[in-house]
Amino acid sequence: MITGKERVLAAFGEGSPEDIPSVLCYAHLALWRGPHFWNDFAEGKPWWIKEVWDIPKLLEVEETMQSKLDTDWVWGADICPSREWRKNHMVVPTSRAIYMRDITPGATVWQYIIEEPPPEGTHATYPNVDLSGIIKTKEDVEKYVYVRKAETIIEEGRTDWVEAVVKKFGDEKFILSQIEAPLEAACDFMGPIPSIKLFTKNPSLLKQLVDRTADVTVEEIKAYAKMGVDGVWAWEWYTGEIISPAQFEAIGKPAIERCIRTAHQLGLKYIFYPTGVGKEWQVGFENMLKMKPDGIHLEESRKGFNSDVSWQANVLKTQGLQDEITLFGNVDAINIVQEGTSEELEREVKRQIDVGRDEYYGRFVLDTGSPITPETSLERLLEYMNLVRKHGRKTQ
């Protein structure tokens, strides 16, 4: 019997790709963090176990989710707060509110109210720090952007969640961890608006910043590799219409290539998820492919850009990359999975699988283009997953 891990690895060229793997990107965004799906998977556990990173209980949630959805990968084996932080924080539920209490020895005990994630789940948010007025020179970059070595990340217990996931699911499933892509990470330090402007106003400072954030990402990749994950996922939003292909080439590409090289040297698959990319920015897309990530995953077509998988497969083949880069499908999470009829859903799943199997020779993983929405019911999600298995699997 073939495992999910073998299925995904075969799609990455390690074995014969009989099956099209079924996976869910950002599974934790709606499925794990939003109340609707949390109730489906948590079996009565309170939502705040996520806030204090109660690893044994979170593993149980993941296990229930996997037993119901049976995806071929486990999403989100990510770096978590340090062991010390977890030891020194506890949740205190009261009738009035749920409090997070900091009980660090020797420090003043203080607590603050934490709230349940909103119904729509929590979306990746912009950072709440803006150092654009402070980071002005290369020295500032080195001073404010701290590079924590992989060994330290592990020693501090920041990979405890990763380790637990690998131990629990690693034999059966492909384990995937998120990394902060260098350009996106630069945004964390400058705020989105200042960093976007820097591409035009001060590209050399931005390049220094991006090179430094790449140092941080490289250490994260090393830590993940030591924990035994199978791949890393890099979401990059400085793409599409945000910056020009020339700006990407000059500032982003060298840093991202360094991260990809590191992943390759350590035997990890690097899946690149640039947002807002479609036919309209084909030059930019081709630039990204030249970096040779192991997998490319574009969002579903939206207003202003068309990213149909058939077009992607064509571009990849034209570039001669069909034996090097795995293509990810991008079933529309809203218009098809959430709102489409059963016939539309099946037609689209089959169409994308046909593209992956016939036009792209099986080096293909089926996924939604963006996260499953909270408005999608569990029944609908199961219908989607069953269809992927029905059309995608030849083996048992």
Binding site: H123, I196, F199, R302
Partner: protein, 216 residues
Amino acid sequence: MSTEEIIDGLRTAVVNYDEERVKKLASEVIEKGIDPLKALQNGLIKGINEIGEKFGAKEIFLSELMVAAEACLVGMDLLKPKIMKSRRTHVKPIGRVVLGTVYGDIHFIGKNLVAVMLEANGFEVHDIGEDQPAEAFVDKAQEVGADIVGASALTSTTRFEQQKIVKAFRAKGLKTKIIIGGAVVDAAWAEIVGADGYATDLQDAVILAKQLMEQT
């Protein structure tokens, strides 16, 4: 420099993303007593509209667009007090717009750029910020007597808030025109939520707002 050169210099400074030059030339407009309204319309607005067209044609990208918009805003801020003073009365806007990003969504880049474009094209814009519930849109629209309300949503999980906003306005019997925007919005969605329109890009947003003003 002649008056024409200064005004055209403002246009080219915006097109060249040169905020310092905009500042310098806008100051010259004031010092030399050049008609500030003419400098605004034939300089800054012309420049930002050119930039908007280039962006629409994918000749430039968001980074350049934002830097140009910033330069334009700096110039507008310098010229506006003079315009008001020279006219002795407030220059009547062609319409009042309340803009915001819907509840649960903290994206703002597109909304802010639409605000700049609308303001540059003569609208009075009230930006209520991000993560705003439907009631906040209603309250602000009533407070300022808005002709148009623009609700932005970037994520698939938050666009349903746009529907709530339309319903909130209609429930109160308000005839304010409501336009929606954002990456997950299209004409079909605009129809589903009952919005008065949606814009595909910045230029389109200005055209749509002007068209809606003709209907009010």
